[in-house]
């Protein structure tokens, strides 16, 4: 079995994760974790839709921010995809998408304040980078023959409109719709840094122990995501996009003096601001590096590796839930519901809830990341097994699982897993804002202490780390000859 490179790679990653478990901080520190969990479940079962009048507003704002942010991101991403073949453009896009929405929000909050622009840009900027990459990949895969046949004097715009757009239209539309769903999740968690979306109300209900209110919000959010195919119609889309900017709320006015101060003073490293010269700067950099960046990187990498393997194990356990090769329709329907819930809950919200219940440690983060990502990969793999035709006398039960199905889907399983590696790391870094000692923790504390220069350096380091893991993931996928379509 170890002759297969895919199996060897899997065991190397498993060993790294097990070693990581030895040094990771995994614990349940609250006094009554199960009682709290029970109360949360009771809250979801008995949702209270009428206590806060803000609930519907929050839902409306969540949808509005998602629409405006994703629309702006897709327009800019489309423009960037047309010039994506130029290396500086590719690097720029890789950079803006390696910084998480919440980090962008934290940056914009410092100078735009609670203006709607903060939330819109926080979604639009990283999404533009992702759209540019995926759109350009879609264009590259289109049929080159029709454009070769055009008369020589044809201008590039009509050539593009007649040969590329029609050929790619369905894929562009499917991917954009899919990103809109991701945009809903991004929009919801922006509430955790104070924007008026679902996360904000979820956090305040939780902190007051109003579990039924929190449950109502979660239930509404699931309904919102699950019914998207019904209310997001191509014909209605222009109306939504045009109307959405009017439902963002007023927020607070932008104080332009703050914008100027942020760029000319706040983010300039302290030693330069105070004229301490290069010696001061290198001391300052050394301090940031040893006391914040290194521990942050270490914890981020350890947590990412554990979460990656946990995600893999969970996906392999979860895919039979929706596979038609096992069990009956009742079990498959409940399997579908379970996986829909797992993948439509943003990992940030899962981590937040688990952290409230179990207390601060890496455990809630690992479980949250594994549940969300395992739900996504389990769903994709399960759907893939449904296209497999087994011979009539194929074994059943565990033998069918381990001899017939897993070997057939293992390569695409690994492809999805390595594709999500970078996404898991980006999320791991951001979960630091909740109090786990990953890079996000150090960014957040630097911002709390009004040391934006440090925060910017740490965000840059996080971005570089993500770009590095993305490159490594692509290298491994190429080495193992794994191919996949993008998932968010």
């Amino acid at each position: 079995m170890f002759a297969y490179p895919t199996v060897r790679t899997s065991f190397i990653f498993l060993a790294i994760a097990l070693a990581g478990l030895l040094v990771a901080d995994i614990a349940i520190t609250t006094a009554n974790p199960w009682q709290d969990l029970g109360r949360l479940f009771w809250g979801v079962v008995t949702p209270n839709f009428f206590s806060t009048e803000g609930l519907l507003t929050a839902l409306l704002r969540t949808v509005a921010f998602a629409f405006v942010g994703v629309a702006l991101g897709s327009v800019c991403g489309f423009a960037l995809s047309l010039v994506y073949r130029f290396l500086p453009v590719r690097m720029f896009c890789a950079f803006i998408r390696s910084i998480h929405e919440l980090f962008w929000a934290l940056i914009f909050l410092q100078f735009f304040g609670f203006h709607p622009l903060t939330g819109v840009l926080a979604i639009a900027i990283p999404y533009a980078g992702i759209f540019a990459k995926v759109y350009s990949e879609i264009f590259e895969e289109s049929d080159p023959e029709p454009s070769r046949l055009l008369p020589p004097g044809t201008r590039s715009i009509p050539a593009f409109l007649y040969t590329k757009i029609p050929d790619c239209w369905v894929q562009l539309r499917t991917y954009t719709a899919y990103r809109l769903e991701c945009g809903m999740r991004s929009s919801a968690i922006l509430g955790f840094v104070g924007l008026p979306t679902l996360g904000f109300y979820l956090e305040s209900s939780f902190s007051q122990g109003l579990y039924s209110d929190a449950g109502a919000m979660l239930v509404l959010f699931y309904i919102l995501i699950a019914t998207m195919p019904l209310w997001v119609r191509p014909k209605l889309l222009p109306a939504y996009v045009l109307a959405a900017p009017f439902f963002l709320g007023d927020g607070m006015p932008i104080i332009w003096g703050n914008v100027k101060r942020f760029f000319t003073e706040d983010i300039v490293p302290a030693p330069i601001r105070n004229g301490e010269g290069l010696v001061g700067l290198s001391e300052w950099m050394g301090d940031v590096w040893i006391n914040e960046a290194l521990p942050g990187i270490w914890n981020t990498v350890v947590l990412t590796q554990i979460a990656l393997v946990a995600t893999g194990i969970l996906s392999l356990l979860a895919f039979p839930l929706i596979s038609r090769h096992f069990g009956g329709p009742v079990r498959r329907t409940s399997g579908h519901i379970l996986l829909v819930i797992a993948r439509s809950t943003p990992e940030y919200i899962l981590a937040y809830i688990l952290l409230q219940l179990w207390g601060p440690s890496m455990l809630p983060a690992v479980v949250a990341l594994a549940l969300h990502n395992g739900g996504i990969i389990g769903h994709l793999i399960g759907r893939q097994t449904n296209t497999i035709q087994l011979r009539p006398d194929a074994p059943t039960g565990l033998s069918r699982y381990s001899w017939e199905l897993v070997p057939r889907v293992y390569r695409s399983f690994l492809a999805f897993l390595f594709y999500r590696w970078e996404i898991i790391m980006r999320e791991t870094a951001i979960l630091g804002i909740l109090g786990i000692y990953t890079l996000g923790f150090y960014v957040d504390s630097a911002i709390q202490n009004i040391r934006f220069d440090r925060a910017m350096v740490l965000i840059l380091i996080t971005a570089l780390l993500n770009i590095g893991v993305d490159a490594l993931g692509r290298y491994i996928r190429r080495k193992l000859a794994l191919k996949t379509m993008p998932t968010c």
Partner: protein, 216 residues
């Protein structure tokens, strides 16, 4: 303008030479049939000539090169994109002008598929797709036609109609054909290709079908 001298044409695939070096002269007004076994290098030769002419020819490749998601009308109209300003082409994509509709429909009438004008190319059968590609080549009105097996999916009468149209509307043409009878009937010069070289080059009037059989 429509007289050509091809000198030392070659093409290689994965380091292996598949055609040439071969040279020949094309006179204005000639209709040339390329014949030969499959794999002899006819398609590659057509491609190489197309590149030499810098796209100044109407091309019907074997793959046809239709935009599957677009209706038949736009797949034909695409042949004249260079004749109109960008705004005109963009508007046509959304709502075609009636004079273009009339012109395209008249052309499709001659090929008996005008009833498919608004059907996406993806929904057509093989023979219908081939007729759309022929219509596109005719609509482009280039001085020369380069076609690679343009009638392979057409039935008898339709194949005759199509070849009559193609050789009638283009002043000069180079067409790869596996049907020797058709080649002799519609072209005035036959070039036989064997292992990437010219094995035969004669006026059609001097040949009968059995003369060509030797290179198959």
């Amino acid at each position: 303008m429509s007289e050509f001298d091809f000198h030392g044409l070659t093409a290689s695939f994965e380091g292996q030479r598949v055609i040439g070096p071969l040279s020949f002269h094309v006179n204005e007004g000639e209709h040339i049939a390329l014949v030969g076994k499959s794999g002899a290098g006819k398609s590659t030769l057509i491609k190489v000539i197309y590149e030499r002419l810098q796209q100044e020819a109407s091309l019907i490749p074997q793959g046809l090169g239709l935009v599957n998601a677009l209706p038949v009308f736009h797949n034909v109209f695409i042949g004249q994109l260079d004749q109109h300003p960008t705004w005109y082409n963009t508007l046509t994509l959304l709502r075609p002008f009636s004079k273009d509709k009339k012109a395209v429909k008249a052309l499709l009438d001659e090929l008996s598929i005008s009833e498919k004008l608004w059907i996406p190319a993806a929904a057509l059968s093989g023979g219908q797709r081939q007729r759309v590609a022929i219509a596109r080549a005719l609509y482009r009105q280039a001085p020369i036609l380069l076609a690679d097996e343009p009638i392979s999916a057409l039935d008898g009468p339709m194949a005759h109609t199509a070849l009559t149209l193609l050789t009638g509307r283009f002043n000069t043409s180079i067409v790869a054909l596996h049907d020797v009878e058709m080649a002799l009937a519609y072209c005035d010069r036959i070039i036989g290709i064997q292992d990437g070289q010219i094995a035969l080059d004669e006026p059609a009037a001097n040949l009968v079908a059995s003369d060509i059989a030797s290179i198959y």
